[in-house]
């Protein structure tokens, strides 16, 4: 755009954007700050951003019957320590990693051959399959959570990894995206592979897959971000068995029975859950923005 370039206008734009940025940053600031402060500092709103880090008494430690002198803690260590001790947070994080990765891998295994067939093979019924893909694009999986939950309950699969993964194994959007991408790959490449004696099966995994890496990267980010952050679906299908909790479920459980003393550890947990994606995003902004806005390519 032909921007208005007077220094006054430029300064004004920055002023507006900075005000907006402060509001956007506010909860991140609160989260990080509280995750490092002692309960007292949180209640009285003192101690600045990182708190004074004065040693505090761990009440729970005293309740366990330890002498007071053994129960002094530095707030930041107390908060992050409690986050891991009070709940099996490591387990939750590993569950999260396992579930998001499984979902992505299965989505690719299902979508890639189908996208290849839809874009490069001629067969009777191809248009019907593609029409089906287009219709299914309209269906948000969260919206049909209830009937999917019923089906899983009928076969006794609630409270399992399968329940967390199965509904997401089909990414209609992934099929659509890969098909569009494969359309741009010249047929000559595939013909050459056929003449070299490659089977269709190995063409998919040895020719098309490497070609699709840029698109797959973007799709991976799209998929992983969505499922790492998802709270609704795990909330529906994991009813009480903590060994299948994903990170957001763990955090929510933590807040359930919490009193004021636990603000620090809760905020520490939130920080731990949010940090991996934020850091990855800051390191590879362009890729992430591309991936998250993928759905804009429809």
């Amino acid at each position: 755009m032909l921007g208005n370039s007077s220094p006054m206008a430029e300064a004004l734009k920055h002023a507006v954007l900075i005000v907006g940025a402060l509001i956007v940053i506010l909860p991140f600031y609160v989260m990080l700050s509280y995750s490092m402060k002692s309960p007292n500092e949180i209640l009285t709103n003192t101690g600045g951003f990182i708190g004074s880090q004065e040693k505090m008494v761990d009440d729970y430690c005293i309740k366990l019957g330890n002498p007071k002198k053994d129960c002094y803690r530095t707030p930041v260590f107390f908060n992050y320590g409690s986050a891991f001790e009070k709940a099996p947070l490591v387990r939750y994080l590993l569950n999260g990693v396992f579930v998001t990765l499984s979902i992505f891998i299965i989505q690719v295994l299902v979508a890639l051959p189908c996208a290849y067939a839809l874009s490069k093979l001629r067969f009777w019924g191809r248009d019907v399959v593609f029409a089906m893909v287009l219709v299914c694009l309209l269906i948000p999986v969260h919206a049909i959570a209830l009937p999917i939950y019923l089906m899983l309950a009928k076969v006794g699969l609630t409270n399992s990894y399968a329940a967390l993964i199965i509904p997401w194994t089909i990414s209609v959007f992934g099929i659509f995206l890969m098909r569009q991408f494969f359309m741009t790959i010249p047929d000559d490449l595939i013909d050459a592979a056929r003449i070299d004696g490659m089977s269709e099966f190995s063409i998919v995994w040895k020719v098309m897959l490497p070609c699709a890496v840029p698109a797959l990267m973007a799709f991976a980010i799209f998929s992983v971000v969505a499922h790492w952050n998802d709270y609704f679906w795990p909330r529906v299908v994991i009813t009480g068995d903590r060994s299948y909790f994903t990170p957001p479920l763990g955090l929510r459980e933590f807040t359930g029975g919490a009193d004021g003393d636990f603000y620090g550890p809760i905020m520490a947990t939130a920080t731990i859950i949010v940090t991996p994606l934020i850091v990855a995003f800051l390191l590879a902004q362009r890729k992430f923005i591309e991936g998250i806005t993928l759905s804009g390519m429809k």
């Binding site: 370039s5 709103n45 093979l121 009777w124 089977s199 709270y231 990170p247 949010v274």
Partner: protein, 338 residues
């Protein structure tokens, strides 16, 4: 799957082998599509059918039998005041979050796009909420908005009795009684329980929704803006378009038409699905003022096991989503340039 080669390398027996090759391609194609097709049917299509059927029943999980209810479940949704409140809460949320987050997202995109430097810096910051788990951030907002110790009310309270109160009580505007303003009365009494008062709760939930969606919309608009050819601005300048607003109205906004249609659709569908903030912060209350549809489905069908009724809400919900997407398709096909 067997390792087969197509017969391109054996030209002699042309007729027969071509047919065989075709049959083989067809077989392979079906094999390749089979997993996707079966999953689409089992995971996406069958559930809609199930919800449709159950919505006319009083089925509960664990029961072997159910009774047909006719359209009673639907009549309840549209007839009972607590479910009318549900429709209202969802409608309010969508109708507030969609325009606000799109307006702010477009504003941010235009500002960032016209900056000479630091554009990427703002872009990264505004995008942060999109990356963060909404549930985690909802819990943080809960703390920030805590009526007594939350940073928001503390900050507001610290402005009391200072120039800040003087300004925001609007008493300096002729004819306005500053003492009656929201800010001054709040100072004298107390600042709101943002999530605990019926008057504020739904707006607070909307605010968090907007906070999260702005960055996403901004990025889509930034992408849209790169697609506006510079020549159009030059042409407009030659035609005597001088002011920034005219330039926006005559060139930028029409060129962003397709982006806007898309942004509206996706924001609307996402807003309809709001759940995390409501579940974690208000549980539909106070007085059902934040009882949005996804939360209603969760509470009625999964917690209270009123599956039939929950299915009816699901179907109504799908109906709304369908209306939104079909209007998008319609607008896209008409190639909207306002």
């Amino acid at each position: 799957m067997s390792e087969q080669t197509t017969s391109v390398e054996n030209p002699p027996k042309r007729g027969a082998s071509l047919k065989a090759a075709e049959a083989r391609t067809r077989l392979i194609s079906y094999l390749f599509c089979l997993p996707a097709i079966s999953l689409m049917i089992i995971i996406l299509l069958v559930p809609i059918f199930i919800a449709g059927v159950l919505s006319f029943t009083d089925y509960s999980l664990g029961n072997t039998d159910f009774n047909w209810q006719g359209t009673k479940n639907y009549e309840r949704i549209f007839g009972r005041s607590s479910y009318q409140k549900m429709l209202w809460a969802s409608a309010t949320y969508v109708l507030v979050v969609v325009p606000a987050s799109i307006g702010l997202g477009l504003g941010a995109a235009l500002l960032i796009n016209s900056l000479r430097r630091f554009g990427d810096f703002y872009k990264a910051i505004y995008f942060l909420p999109v990356m963060a788990a909404l549930l985690a951030m909802a819990i943080v907002w809960d703390f920030a908005l805590h009526p007594t110790i939350g940073i928001v009310n503390k900050t507001l309270a610290s402005g009391c009795g200072t120039l800040v109160e003087g300004f925001f009580s609007w008493g300096w505007i002729p004819g306005v009684n500053g003492a009656e303003s929201w800010y001054s009365t709040s100072c004298a009494d107390e600042f709101p329980h943002w999530l605990g008062e019926k008057k504020y709760a739904i707006w607070t939930i909307c605010f968090i929704g907007i906070w999260q969606a702005v960055g996403f919309n901004m990025v889509l608009y930034l992408a849209g803006l790169t697609g506006v050819p510079r020549e159009l601005y030059h042409a407009a300048a030659i035609d005597g378009v001088r002011s920034g607003w005219e330039r926006f109205r005559l060139v930028t906004w029409p060129m962003l038409g397709p982006t806007t249609v898309f942004v509206v659709t996706i924001t609307a569908i996402r807003s309809f699905q709001v759940f995390d903030t409501v579940e974690a912060l208000t549980e539909g209350g106070p007085a059902k003022s934040t009882y949005v549809m996804m939360y209603a489905i969760f509470e009625k069908a999964i917690r209270e096991n009123l599956v039939g009724f929950g299915s009816a809400i699901t179907i109504v919900f799908l109906g709304f989503v369908l209306i939104i997407t079909l209007s998008q398709r319609y607008l896209v096909e008409r190639r909207v340039h306002y």
